[in-house]
Amino acid sequence: MSEKIYARLLRLYPSRFRAAWGDEALQLFRDRMRDETGLFPRLRLWLDLLVDLLVSLPGEHRHPHQVPAAGGGAPSFELLEPAPLRFGSLVFGGALSMAAFGACSFLINQAGRYQPLTRPSSGLENAAALMAIDEPTPATQAPGAAAEVDSVERHRLVEAAAANLKQYYVDRAVGLKTAEALLAHQMRGDDNTATDGQSFADLLTAQMRDASHDNNLVLVFSRDPLPLPSGPSPESMARYRQTMAEQNCTFQKAQILPHNVGYLKFDSFPEPAVCEATARDAMASLNNSDAIIFDLRDNRGGDPEMVMLISAFLFDHPEYMYNNRENTTERLWTRSPVLGSRLADKPAYILTSSHTYSAAEHFSYDLKMLKRATLVGETTGGAAHSGAFHRIDDHFGMGIPETRAINPFAKADWAVTGVEPDVKVPAADALAAAEKLAKRRLRRR
């Protein structure tokens, strides 16, 4: 029995040791068992054997002995590399295994996490519309390699973003401060959790806005390669046209509400080159209303040319429209009166929300300052500056405010603060409030 136990323990030794010395070891064990009888000597024997195992096993596994030539037809194995594994090799092998294990876990984890690109929430639209960058439709997206960002990639992007901010941001001091905030976040490892392009872009956008208090700053991620800075390609122009055609140039609703109040909801100011006819048709359909409500609660901005085009319907004479996008002293006048327009002297209301951005703020601000429209709703998002789009690489780019025009109304810009409404109500109640205002005003008439 005891011998069987020891024979099993001997299996812990490398096979070459057992082949060379297994019989002798067992013989020695038998000799001691025979000679050392009684409780104490037996206990000491087993203690000796266990200590011997603990002491000699590691050495046997680390320092292989030369193998005696195999004989008697018994199978034998020989190591090609006689030198034992070095400590460094063990560490390297361990680290490599851990890395492979980590990579597998990461990939498994990522496989189920793909989400279609969501619509960015702010001033990007200015840049995107101007540059005619179309958001890829979710159906055409596939989880690509570019969706993941590693630490090297994050470092590169943060450096690029910081350099762009320092070079281009409208306010030099704020640009510097924001760039330094980005670098500090990176140094502290705050960015390490953002491992896919979209969440990294969102995180940097949040960091930039936090440091600058400027909601027009944005880092954009796109799965499809961004267009080169040479300008919109014919293909992207074609895509823009197609998207606008499919979405009716973002003109969502044009209808006559009770008391003959016209209602127009549009969610961007698209390029007149593509959407002029649609815009004119929408305005024409409301031409006979006694008041008009522009619903800009979901309007994220767009082309200042379209701001001019729609504003023109509201005046019977050319009116100066301050455009904070243009750093120019050249006056911008509406092409009023618009032939056949009956809206020039009708009360106008603009519905705003905290998601009303950029060109929509331009429209709201000027009509408010000109006392041509009553703003109803919430303070707008605050995206005033002219945003130029800077391409970092195929998948990342940033919108940076670069110019600030002289404001004829000599009031603070809405860059950060947004445009204050005349009647402050929650965005959801804005339409009802505006309808009530319009009704009261029409009755007075």
Partner: protein, 116 residues
């Protein structure tokens, strides 16, 4: 083998060399001789014993002699080992090294007693 496993000489290997100084012995004989010459303090287990024997054989400090039976231990054939001249030389130089250490220890008053 590139590694010099017996430099410095482990105490088990040195004891084995000393055990073989007078007689050729088999494994169990070596174990008992070592236990005897250390006053029972060192009882070589099979793993340590045969690992040391292997190393000593590789370095040609001991050599295997013809296997034979040990009349006192039954009729099993056993492998016997003898000290080679290189082994004897190494054992002597190791003993001298230890003797030097003893002299130093005594000179430093760490150990009291006669000079070796």
């Amino acid at each position: 083998m590139p590694r010099q496993k017996l430099n410095p000489l482990p105490s088990a290997a040195f004891q084995i060399l000393l055990a073989l100084a007078e007689d050729d012995l088999h494994g169990y004989g070596i174990m008992r001789q070592v236990a005897e010459q250390t006053g029972g303090r060192m009882r070589l287990g099979p793993g340590t014993l045969y690992s040391s024997i292997q190393s000593l054989l590789e370095e040609k400090l001991i050599a295997e002699v013809e296997s034979r039976e040990d009349a006192r231990l039954g009729n099993e054939r056993r492998r016997y080992y003898k000290l080679t001249s290189a082994g004897r030389k190494l054992a002597r130089s190791e003993a001298e090294r230890l003797a030097d250490l003893l002299r130093v220890a005594r000179a430093k008053k760490i150990l009291r007693g006669d000079h070796v």
